[in-house]
Amino acid sequence: MSQFAINILFVGASFALYIGIAIWAKAGSTKDFYVAGGGVHPITNGMAIGADWMSAASFISMAGLIAAGGYANSTFLMGWTGGYVLLALLLAPYLRKFGKFTVPEFIGDRFYSRTARMVAVVCLIVASLTYVIGQMAGAGVAFSRFLEVDATTGLIIAAVVVFFYSVLGGMKGITYTQVAQYIVLIVAYTIPAVFISLELTGNPLPPLGLFSDHSASGEPLLSKLNEVVTALGFDAYTAMVDNKLNMVLFTLSLMIGTAGLPHVIMRFFTVPKVADARWSAGWALVFIGLLYLTAPAVASMARLNLMTTIYPDMAGQVENYDAAASNAIAYGDRPDWIRTWEETGLITFEDKNNDGNIQFYNDGADFEDRGWEGNELTVNNDILVLANPEIANLPSWVIGLIAAGGLAAALSTAAGLLLAISSAISHDLIKGAINPGITERGELKAARISMSIAIVVATYLGANPPGFAAQVVALAFGIAAASLFPVLMMGIFSKRVNNKGAIAGMLSGLTFTLVYIFIYKGWFFIPGTNNLADTPENWVLGISPLSIGAVGAIINFAVAYLVSKSSEEPPREIQELVESVRYPKGAGGAVNH
């Protein structure tokens, strides 16, 4: 069977499974549509959260980022997992106890303000829509590479599949497809990793392989990798980071942003009890951890594999790295996987010194004595995971599996985000503000219509990314961190923060974060409209625009506290609402008065 047929088989089978689940899990009520009926088992929910959370960014891009940045990019690993501690301790159990359908609904009720609810709706839609564009674009790339259709056709196929199970089943359909998608994506991610770890270190468990000895050289894998990359002018893989403030704030922004993303929070509304919300956060992190503990191993091993493919003499014990560096493979002898990826434009080669060999090194380093006139091979970070099975010469069914896994990661996150958007529109905007008298059936219909519109908009934007695709994830996290997380937390942990404080806090945190990002990235991301170049020398105190969400959150907290302090206390019934959210027992019956 050809590789193409195998890919079609794997992807087709996984899609058939998702559609089958959709038909089985059709939503009959708004409760089914928004919270899957409210009876999801915590382990099932943990798995669904895993797929909901792990997007194309986690599956496709993260290992590539770590491979390129080494220790410095550990921020993604810590940031995208540490947020779950905040969720489990500070938000999930209480929001579950509150027992409503959406995040803006809690903000509206707790701060007794329709304005606060609408501000939350806007934050939610902007954060989720920017995030979903990246997912659709990621699905498009996976399609065009593995199924040999162009990205737009691929996107439309993906959109039809998502449409089917999310419009039909709402949260109920999404929950069970996400469980299936989690299994597909985790199997697809770990199998190539196990093979590569065995090949490089003899250890079948990639997280242990990362800290084991490299079989071919007998040295620890990470020391070997450090030697290879520094011989080619790169920073050592495990090198310290000087700008620690920025590293801390970036990690903090990712953590707070993770905890504030509505599509993740919503998943905690689907379990029966408060205790289950706590357990499902733990299970979610176990399932996420399986991939996140594998990713750094994939990153370092793939980087080493890539280097030793180009410089075969560096693979074993090396006496003299200078000599090994002079013996690169000839461009004509490059392996097949480089040829395949050249067709997609994600690997490019230019023979700058016309010697017919590939020179692959840090472009900033000076190697004129080796006769090198510039780096000749450009490898896009995103291909690392997708190309992994080919680099390691794994059988062709593993490549089919990777294709299905990448699509599962992108589609499961897209569906969760689209549900967050459509429920904000039908439940918060239509039922909460425009037409409070809407019937149950009318609301369910409105939810389905807004879901359909959201899919069409996301597909269009995914096919025609508005020029800031690379920045959108940072924007989504910045918004969630600076606007939603602080008011949610204060709504539970403070009885004193009132409507004025919450609105002022959200608006100031959000405005501060957006302005700081726009100054460096361009106003509304329009190229050329930035006031300062986006380089470390220009950043205030060395804080990158990607790290600013944490500062925005601190401003949100401070403003909300000060404004509340200087205005009246929240009414008595709101203080009672806060108390009822704090205690698991009863439907508001925990507090007697």
Binding site: I66, Y71, S74, L77, M78, T81, G82, Y84, V85, A88, L89, L90, P93, P207, L210, F211, S212, D213, E219, P220, L221, L222, S223, K224, N226, T238, M240, V241, K244, M247, V248, T251, L252, K273, V274, A275, R278, W279, A281, G282, L285, V286, G289, Y292, L293, P296, F493, E579, R582, Y583, P584, K585, G586, A590, V591, N592
Partner: protein, 86 residues
């Protein structure tokens, strides 16, 4: 009733204390060991690199998982102890 009210308040205080303790560990493993204290831990070797690197790429994630399960277990006990479970 005053008793139930003070019981609920004691429960909430115990919860906040537990959260504070967990968040101290949370910050210590990630911002502490993995970033700010890494230079201090650089003399402790782990598989070709140092302890700080291990915390950054593995240790912190394992600690986060442990923390959430610890918190969930402890809270479920507190719920029962104070008679506030569902």
């Amino acid at each position: 009733m005053a008793d139930e009210k003070s019981n609920a308040e004691a429960y909430w205080k115990a919860n906040v204390r537990l959260i504070t303790g967990c968040l101290i560990v949370w910050a210590l493993v990630s911002y502490g060991c993995a970033i700010l204290l890494r230079p201090l831990l650089s003399s402790i070797p782990v598989g070709g690199t140092d302890l700080g690197f291990w915390f950054a790429q593995q240790g912190s994630i394992l600690a986060f998982i442990g923390l959430i399960f610890f918190y969930a277990w402890k809270m479920n006990r507190l719920d029962k102890q104070y008679g506030l479970e569902e």
